[in-house]
């Protein structure tokens, strides 16, 4: 059997292909990338929560109920849309996040959502998370202020779960 390419040429081509493959292998996991500087950690502030309805439910009058088809005669007329949530996060008394979060969805009936990542130096920090999800104009309905110790490279997640009493660390 004769080879279509001579042995020295085969060796040369093999060397070229190996060099290209080695190049690919080298840059397939190097050089390393540092997402956060050494000596820092991350606090993630994220929740998905529905505020109160846009307006209060209203009791339908008997006349209104009579006009509705029998299967739709619910005594309460409740709007689909939800209020916006106002949320605030302060790290060491510095407000790093303060925003009104609109409800999601075309009908504005989905939960308000947030996902933010904050880099902090390792060490002790006072974290204050506040949230307003009712019609009140000022102040907050939920608040958690706590001193946390962040280790280098640590990722702390601050979530909001009303069923667990409000803001929780995860």
């Amino acid at each position: 059997m004769s080879l279509p390419v001579s042995i020295p040429r085969l060796i040369g081509l093999f060397a070229v292909l190996t060099a290209v493959t080695a190049f690919a292998a080298t840059f397939s996991n190097a050089p390393a990338y540092r997402q956060i500087p050494a000596g820092t950690g991350v606090i993630k502030f994220s929740f998905s929560h529905s505020a109160d309805r846009g307006r209060e439910c209203r009791r339908r009058t008997p006349e209104e109920l009579a006009k509705l088809p029998p299967n739709m005669r619910r005594p309460l007329d409740c709007p689909r849309s939800r209020r916006a949530i106002f949320a605030e996060l302060a790290i060491d008394d510095v407000v790093v996040f303060s925003k009104e979060l609109p409800p999601s969805g075309f009908a504005k009936d989905g939960p308000s959502q947030v996902y933010r990542r904050f880099m902090v130096a390792a060490g002790s920090h006072t974290i204050a998370a506040r949230l307003r999800d009712t019609p009140r104009a000022s102040g907050f309905d939920h608040e958690r202020i706590e001193a946390v110790s962040v280790r280098p490279g640590q990722s702390l997640a601050l979530d909001f779960r009303p069923e667990h009493g409000g803001f929780i660390w995860r």
Partner: protein, 521 residues
Amino acid sequence: MIALVRRGTARGFDAAERGLNRLAGPAVNPLAQLGALGFFLFWIVVVSGIYLFMLFDTGVENAHASIEWYSTRYAWHAGVMRSFHRYASDMMIVVMALHLLREFSRDRYRGGRWFSWVTGVPVIWFLYMSGITGYWLVWDQLAQYIATTSTELLDWLPIFGEPIARNFLAPSSLSNRFFTLLVFLHIAVPLLLLFMLWIHIQRITRPKVNPPRTLAALTMLALLAVSIVKPALSQGAADLAKVPSPVGLDWFYLPLYPLADAAPGALWGLLGAATVMLAAMPWLPPLRRMKPATVDLDHCNGCGRCVEDCPYDALQLVLRSDGLPYHVEVVVNTDKCVSCGICTGACPSSTPFRSTGPLDTGIDLPDVTFASMRERLHELAARDTSSPRLLVIGCWHGAAAARGEDVLSLPCVAAAPPSLIDYALSRGLVDGVVIAGCSESACYNRLGVEWMQQRIAGERNPYLRSRVPRDRILSVWASPAEGARLDHEINTFKVRLAKLAQEQPQQQTTETPTTVREAAS
């Protein structure tokens, strides 16, 4: 600006291809087989992926552990397969980038070639998505970084309900179900990639989807060598309670991820602009498009040789429409035609020996007609007072393009039928013919060089008649950067012809005019 970049890139490819041609020969030059190598690497990734999947535990708890188990305990097969899977995927990016740059540098993305170019754009997206979803499955620190950054990047788009990144908020957030979704994505996206690759090659005939066996075997051996010396390894199990930093990035798949960390909006803008720019390139100025080939049914007997030779699937045989006693006729799909003229060179009606009536042929280029070829041949022969007299049939895209006025210049050398060479020599118009085409590994019209070689060797219709003295024909396959080599070969050829003239004065043959039907039969 674009033209400048293109010329610079073309020079780079030219130099590299010439080097590899010298090293290994044009038949196995990897730069001439980039598309085929891409397919070959894809199949390596598929086979190694199926193998790895059999040993993989798809649950979030055990994914990393199962990979570590087979990578270390069964390093000699599963570990090697893992390295094959990773490095062949990386090589696909390298090959794809080179393929794209090479086609760009050769200006092979305009006109009828737009389809292959534009369908290559989603191929880029699907290849990246395939690789990125694959990295998630390892569920090591790199996977964690990719997962969080990718989902944060996706969440920047206002199309998702709940932020997807919340799935990676804390160790308790990630469910097995979400991980199963990732597995599904890593199977579905490569299938879409394969589908797009299939569409990508729809408008070319004889697509090279398999590299030569020698090249394929050497590629496998190179992968094996690197897999043994530097096996692909994980970077420690993922832990959502920690930030994976520093992390060893795959710079082929993730070069833009650091930008995603800093400015996701800017990254989306960049990706969108690059995609639109790439997709729009075939229509950017300068727009150059010659008129497509036209069929003259009076000279077409439906033999199908042009259909057989068209590199772009632009010709089709359909039932005869003009009442002549032939079963079929040729029609040109003008959208696919790139006006290379290879069909004219393949047509048996393209015979210059005819002396009566206009020199029409069965299929012709309106901008470079067959009649104009013969006319130009006569003009050049009459002008050439040197001895020996030469006819240089030159490709627009090869080294002959720089020779200027003394060349029968064509969009492709295969546009010249072999009978033209016969005519030039047998009528004593010239003493020798030089066929100066593109570089053998980089034919601008894909198959022109190959078809011309086969026609001269008598392996492909229309053959160059055996009576034509082969020692009076010189084929030079040279890129535009190889003008000096072409000049040198032509000068050597002239010396040889001069010797031949002393040894055996050229026999002149006269031909009786051949009618189109006789030639076709």
